[in-house]
């Protein structure tokens, strides 16, 4: 596999990023950075990773044209879904875990630690731990253990210890804090696989690089199928790893990029970029939901994987530079898109990915916005219908027992419950 060019200033994206962690972890972060920099330039490492991606995870994942979904969106575009849901373990999270477990082995670590929200990253970490013969502990908020119960069972089946987190809002933020505490305590023998492009340097860069395979493949595939680059690429953003991976393929091209945060509902939201302000949480400076005293405000989303008050530092930089447009989609819109894809395409998307689908539908339903995209696109106004790539970052089987299952069974949200 190929890796994107290194950042100009290691660990910083403009003012964002950094290493705001207890001293105990600093030597370990230095070691991880050195091992990672050596590995990303080592053909043997890249070949081993590429083989696992192909033979274990099933890459390349397909780029599929969702014709009935695009018709329902108003037939203004050809919509291509990057099928990360078809990866082994059912989401893009495995891309990062395969890379990091190889690094953990190079560092001689005997144990993996992970945090998880939706459970997809926890399942992916438990999976690579089994593959490598390492012990594995996954921290998961008690609320998330209930709403993503199938994934808890999967992790335990794979041999991982799942530790319920009872502090704070009992969701992803609290699971991350608890994973960091475990890591501080067991740093000598344990590697912490952060599941998103968050945390102290080198994680945001390293996780993006492992996820860049999404965008690199999607770019090649859309060129094969359309003969040109897409006009827009869309991904959901919690911590932001699937978006960082997709955008990595197109950030240097004239392609409009959209990151979609969780607008939540009456209980709150998770839109750190849209509604937060810069602050430090979990090791890096980035946009953050906080109060006037600098206390972190609990997030909310129906999608456990987006239910996080922070966001990766590179997304903060891409927001400030204007290279990526960030917007938000609320719980109900995401549930409606979830139902659409189930019924129109026979694909059950994760609730997280449903936010990207909902935004796609909103964008394509906006005649003026589409006209503007056509008028300003690099391909020119006469290049035919819009071409849009949406990252279908994960599958939704995990969501079947909750609100999403009710929605899918009952048609419009809330009916026939």
């Amino acid at each position: 596999m190929t890796m994107p060019a290194a950042n100009a200033a290691p660990g910083r994206f403009g003012p964002y990023g950094g290493q705001y962690v207890p001293e105990t972890l600093m030597p370990c972060l230095r070691e991880l950075e050195a091992v990672w920099l050596a590995a990303r330039a080592d053909p043997a490492f890249l070949a081993e990773l590429a083989a696992l991606q192909a033979d274990y995870s099933g890459r390349p994942t397909p780029l599929y044209r969702a014709r009935r979904f695009e018709a329902a969106c108003g037939a203004r575009a050809r919509v291509w879904l990057k099928r990360e849901d078809l990866n082994h373990t059912g989401a893009h999270k495995i891309n990062n875990c395969l890379g990091q477990v190889l690094l953990a082995q190079r560092m001689g670590k005997a144990r993996l630690i992970a945090e998880t929200g939706a459970g997809q990253h926890g399942v992916a970490t438990a999976t690579v731990a089994a593959l490598a013969g390492l012990r594995c502990t996954v921290y998961m908020g008690e609320v998330d253990m209930r709403r993503q119960e199938p994934n808890v069972r999967r992790m335990r089946l794979l041999g991982a210890e799942v530790v319920p987190v009872l502090s704070g809002a009992r969701t992803l933020k609290d699971a991350t804090s608890e994973a960091i505490r475990d890591w501080v305590t067991n740093v000598a023998d344990s590697h912490y696989i952060i599941g998103s492009t968050v945390g102290p340097h080198p994680y945001p860069t390293m996780v993006r690089d492992f996820q860049a395979v999404i965008g690199i493949e999607a770019r090649r595939q859309v060129l094969e199928k359309e003969g040109r680059l897409p006009d827009a690429a869309i991904a959901c953003v919690g911590g932001g790893s699937n978006a960082a991976g997709l955008f990595a393929g197109f950030v240097d091209d004239p392609v409009a990029l959209y990151g979609v945060e969780a607008g939540g509902g009456a209980q709150g939201h998770s839109a750190a970029l849209a509604l937060g302000s810069p602050g430090v949480l979990h090791g890096s400076l980035s946009y953050l939901l906080q109060d006037e005293h600098g206390q972190v405000v609990p997030a909310h989303s129906i999608a456990a994987g987006l239910d996080y008050p922070g966001v990766g530092p590179e997304h903060s930089f891409l927001k400030d530079t204007g290279r990526v447009t960030y917007d938000k989609v609320d719980d109900d819109e995401a549930l409606a898109a979830f139902g659409d894809l189930c019924r129109l395409e026979g694909i059950i998307p994760a609730l997280e990915s449903s936010h990207a689908l909902a935004f796609c539908r909103r964008l394509l339903g906006d005649e003026a916005a589409c006209a503007k995209l056509v008028a300003t696109r690099a391909a020119g106004p006469d290049a035919g219908p819009l071409v849009v790539v949406v990252n279908l970052s994960g599958r939704g089987d995990k969501d079947m027992h909750g609100d999403a299952g009710d929605q899918a069974n009952g048609g419009a949200h809330g009916q026939a419950r």
């Binding site: 290493q19 705001y20 105990t24 305590t185 602050g279 979990h282």
Partner: protein, 276 residues
């Protein structure tokens, strides 16, 4: 040298091995917290650490997490923690070191926070999630305001990083006793003495050991090799459930007094050993 460094050097020169109590501002409640500080003064403490509660304290174990959460629910803020520090300085003549995570400091702004510390008479600041490599931006305004930014070193800190700490640290050097979070360690690793000796060879500042020091025996062991001990979770555990000033005062004076006596005895013995 700042006021904190002057005090810690003077204490070392006098052969004292102070115990430094840590309280979370506003825990168990405002009155009991003040009572605990009074109790510390009664036990002979000159130096105390006051924690500014934060919603996501990643370096803290369950006791300080719970204390922080409770204080926040009761309305504690950085500004009110600074008021408490000013009170301890004014009423009890205590030298106060604040411990606070970075985000509330950033939210107030580095310069504003430094000025507020100076106005409250705070002598030093400890920021557990601000490693020495990232600290330049905060160190400068603190120095200008006469407040020492205290550096934390850990058992994992290697020789190269120790030199970095020695070049920048002020007030005292905070030795995290074990790899782990506050309050859960065994008090000190098997090799505490070797660890302290290794740090002492690299840094001339007084060395204070914290994280998991909570019994008289542990405090005495610290007194035999280092210059002071910081006691947080073990004290907060004794304050849990107390809701009046007098009880908090008595509980703190008794517990900290016990540790101080153990440290003094051990320190005297060690001092005699040095001279023989």
């Amino acid at each position: 040298m700042g006021r904190l460094g002057e005090l810690t050097h003077a204490l070392r020169a006098a052969g004292a091995r102070p115990v430094v109590p840590f309280v979370t501002a506003g825990f168990p409640d405002d009155a009991a917290c003040r009572g605990a500080l009074r109790g510390a003064r009664e036990a002979g403490c000159r130096l105390v650490e006051i924690g500014v509660p934060f919603s996501d304290p990643v370096a803290d174990g369950p006791v300080i997490q719970a204390a922080s959460q409770r204080a926040l629910l009761q309305g504690m803020t950085p500004a009110r923690a600074l008021d408490l520090a000013a009170w301890a300085r004014r009423e009890l003549d205590l030298t106060v070191v604040l411990m606070g995570y970075l985000n509330p400091v950033l939210r107030m702004g580095g310069e504003r926070f430094a000025d507020a510390c100076a106005a409250a008479g705070v002598a030093g600041l400890i920021v557990p999630d601000l490693p020495v490599d990232e600290a330049a931006g905060l160190r400068a305004p603190l120095r200008a305001a006469g407040v020492d930014l205290v550096s934390l070193v850990a058992p994992t800190t290697d020789a190269a990083r120790l030199r970095l700490h020695a070049a920048h640290a002020a007030g005292f050097l905070y030795l995290v006793s074990t790899t782990g979070v506050t309050g859960t360690g065994a008090g000190a690793g098997d090799d505490l003495e070797a660890y302290v000796a290794r740090v002492r060879a690299a840094c001339a500042l007084p060395l204070y050991v914290g994280f998991g020091v909570g019994t008289a025996a542990q405090a005495a062991r610290v007194a035999r090799c280092a210059d002071g001990a910081i006691v947080g979770s073990a004290l907060l555990r004794r304050l849990e459930g107390i809701d009046d000033e007098a009880a908090a005062r008595t509980a703190t004076a008794s517990f900290i007094g016990e540790l101080a006596a153990a440290m003094a005895a051990a320190g005297d013995a060690a001092g005699k050993g040095d001279r023989s």
